[in-house]
């Protein structure tokens, strides 16, 4: 369907600048928050604002790109974890990795659900990339008998993401509570 009509190799310096911008943005977002002036990012990347806006027409496009990079890295980490640990441990390890990733995104994660239409596509990307990843981990753990309840990957992903906004220590406690809920799900027959 949506095939690439004109792939355009993208010039070498352009590619370098895009990378520098992404890296600079990640840093600046981490220190000054997602609302930091675009100029600050361009300066750190060593380019003009014009270049920034050439590659990311809207400020929010840059925010999205940085977020997606992080999501990709997180998803890519799963197979290795899954191969190196038992199902239950792999799930736990990955959730930890996921939590740590989210911890660096503070304002970013909240912007995701701020109602701003610019970020509407993010949850979809997030889900499409991480949903299957966690889904596999979860199903494997359930098959091995370590998990009782059936929670959807989507629900759990969202829950941990949102909970993480309040700090690592806090999210650790609440995620533990959620996992307890998964293990000892009420047997009183509620759907």
């Amino acid at each position: 369907m949506t095939e690439t009509p004109a792939p355009r190799p993208l010039r070498a310096d352009a590619r370098r600048n895009v990378d520098a911008l992404l890296e600079a943005a990640r840093t600046v977002f981490g220190t000054s928050g997602v609302d930091a002036p675009a100029k600050e990012i361009a300066d750190l990347a060593g380019v003009g604002v014009g270049t920034l806006y050439r590659h990311f027409p809207l400020r929010s496009d840059l925010v999205k790109a940085v977020f997606q990079r992080g999501v990709d890295a997180c998803a890519d980490a799963a197979p290795a974890l899954s191969a190196a640990h038992e199902p239950g441990a792999a799930l736990a390890e990955w959730l930890l990795r996921y939590t740590e990733f989210l911890a660096t995104k503070r304002g970013l994660a909240s912007a995701l659900h701020s109602g701003d239409p610019a970020f509407e596509s993010l949850p979809g990307y997030f889900m499409g990339r991480l949903g299957p990843t966690l889904g596999t981990l979860l199903e494997t753990a359930r098959s091995s008998g370590e998990i009782q309840a059936d929670v959807t990957p989507e629900d759990l992903l969202y829950a941990v993401a949102t909970l993480s906004q309040h700090g690592v220590a806090y999210s650790g406690r609440m995620v533990a509570l959620l996992v307890d809920g998964l293990r000892y799900r009420a047997v009183s027959g509620r759907s």
Copy 2:
């Protein structure tokens, strides 16, 4: 300590305008999001932007005020609920009321944790007002034997607030999971 040095009765038209602004802001935030231009709010309230900024020097002050109004209303609802229902039911009813309140705040609730220093004081107010409220409900329910685990009001309050950002249906499911966790807390002796 912090006694009112000069209470200043506040002129009648001023009081009326503050109220109109608060009401207009609540509406506009609900429809256009918390980032709606200040002009839009001033127009709906039928005043000039100067008036808006006289009463709320920073844009964020208006956001804070609207949020606090909602928090107050929610806290004030507890005693009546507590008097009209059994401990467990009162807790459930209040959490529902609380969830519904949060549902109307979308972007507002996320702004709360966006890292913006302007909103730093909000969690404190939020906690000071709602913490004791939920604390009482929770302790009463625990005394009645309906709840096993000891979760702090703070943790639960935050958890539900954050979870609610994803929609009423979703938060309903996740809150149920949390409550199951409270009832059937793991006995494996983890601190």
